[in-house]
Homo-oligomer: 198 residues x 4
DNA sequence: TATGAATGAGTATTCATTCAT
DNA sequence: GATGAATGAATACTCATTCAT
């Protein structure tokens, strides 16, 4: 019985997140009011506050959902196209993300430079590290040549820097058109990655 | 005559920028109202609009001023401590910035991940590339082993990525404490830089 | 059977009253929401409405309960310390109340100047005058020298003024610190009472 | 120049107070919104906040204005009908107030039991005791037989109790019809006053 | 009886911006 | 140029109350 209600609640929360995402992408976060989000999700204004503290709380949860989703997709793609060289897999992974942002500039504009591992990681510690995505990544990507060189934390830090760097450069080049086009930046980034992972 | 007036105007504008900086650092950008900025600068609310279009215009100018200032200081320090190896100079430069952010977390919080070359560059194109700081950097840092490898644009892009990466990692590790302390991230960053510049 | 249920209901109602009292004392009436009261009483929000019409209804019942309780205690104390002079008994009675408010300023703050006989009286007429406390007071305090002077209603009015005056002065002096400390007001009040009852 | 503006401001503030008074009397304090007050005073909602912190701030100022006004009128009337006996003047004074409340029950309902000297006194200390009304009362009413008996503070306390008592009893009997009609309470009150002042 | 999710009208409050002086 | 009183649209947020379960 309670299950049905919980399911309904989950659906309603998702409706709100979806409504917010659409509006945020359409007209920006600050120009979107909570009233609009509620209206678009077809719930009363007060209902919003049953699920989120305020707009910022919702934004955090939304950014987490999006980041997690992107990373999962990038990982899945990499899995399906595994290559023998570890560094090539990292580049497949990074490339998927960069291509995604190139094709979804609105999403990049929303995430700004805040697309990042930390969001993922936050949830990890919340889940007691039980996030299956993370386990998969940890197992796959990290059981590599690097394994002999460094410990788990360091390997993670290294990947973190790679992702952070990609997100940051994507935003600058795709959104702000600085310092160059993403097509010119990509080779540089990949050279970076290759040099670093060797 | 006109000069004196221009000086007065410049002073008033600076008062407004200073007032804004103090308040932004104290209580955040969004929680600071134009009224407060005007009040702290001891001018009337209406006067604000004689110098800036709106809060965002002021914020841009302020972030530019701060970024430019930090980069200038980092460059000056590097100049005074020149080493024969080019990559060591880049690391001196990056290290100055990282130490600065470590000691001025409020400033880092204000700039967020937006500390970046682009802001500088924007002003460069505005000034027709006449900014003396930029000329100095272009001359000094870029007249290096890299010179033979690539053209000016590429060299700039490369440095851009380095700075962007440092700013981004500083924010994550110092403000969000992710994925590790800045002391643990530093060696990784410097390894990155060294490997890349070789 | 029905008795047990009635007892359960009475307990639940009391839980709600107790919860409300705690919260009202802690954070004031207007800042306390029905949700909070229900939550603190460990019942669902909707349950509140099975026992009270609204917050005001509950407040009335609560104030009655408290006033009645204070007056009963004052009366009991006076009974246990009876003196031959009637006016001294009134003063014993008044003093107990004043001391109580001095030591329970939060209670005084809640009752404000509304600590008064009327609340009691209201219940009296509701009970058809069958409240044992009232019978006791009517018998004890009013079977006095005053009896020869006036009728029952007038005697009650007189005592009413005394209580009203004490409550009002307590609030002013203890809560608002006006026009003087309660220690300075007390002798005046007692002189008032003595002169009046003679 | 600035004077004119200050006058205008004073007028606007008064408009707001008048609008609030009308609405408070018509439909009660809590059912009156700030929007309505502003609308009735023909100013923008935001303007309200240039003159008052919130509804409570306005209410305090309004209650003070009303209390002060009533006391001034009662005093003036007493002055115009001076009698040789001091206590008769106090009764004239008290009677004016009671009659006023009998004829303006809406006002009494607004002031509740909070009609009181303290409000006056508060302003006195704020004005450094320069309120002409207070000086007049202090001179007139207090330069009496009581003068030989007690000091200024005590005389004030005594009058305070009288006024407090009248206000409190008026509210109970006129608004709550307890414990008796005001016509029945009056003689009791006046007996009180006479006995006390002798 | 009891629940608590949902409602949505209602309210306070903020603040960028204007404009008469 | 400078002022600051006035504006009023915009928005966040609350909470009493209902009702399907």
């Amino acid at each position: 019985m309670g299950e049905r209600i919980d399911q309904k609640k989950e659906i309603k929360k998702n409706n709100l997140l979806n409504a917010a995402q659409t509006l945020f992408l359409e007209k920006g976060v600050s120009k979107t009011s909570i009233s609009e989000i509620a209206e678009r999700a077809s719930v009363a204004k007060g209902t919003f506050y049953l699920y989120f503290d305020d707009k910022d709380d919702l934004l955090q949860q939304l950014l987490y959902r999006i980041s997690h989703d992107i990373i999962r997709q990038a990982f899945d793609y990499t899995e399906r196209n595994l290559k023998p060289e570890f560094e090539e897999n990292v580049i497949t992974f990074a490339d998927w993300i960069i291509v995604y942002f190139t094709e979804h500039t609105d999403m990049l504009r929303l995430i700004k430079r805040n697309f990042s591992w930390p969001l993922i990681e936050r949830s990890l510690s919340a889940n007691g590290g039980s996030d299956p995505l993370w386990h998969a990544i940890a197992g796959r990507l990290l059981a590599t040549p690097l394994a002999s060189v460094s410990n788990a934390q360091e390997r993670f830090n290294l990947l973190f820097i790679v992702v952070e760097m990609c997100g940051s450069v994507c935003y600058s080049s795709i959104i702000e058109h600085r310092p160059d086009t993403i097509d010119h930046m990509k080779p540089l980034l990949y050279t970076f990655i290759r040099k670093v992972l060797r």
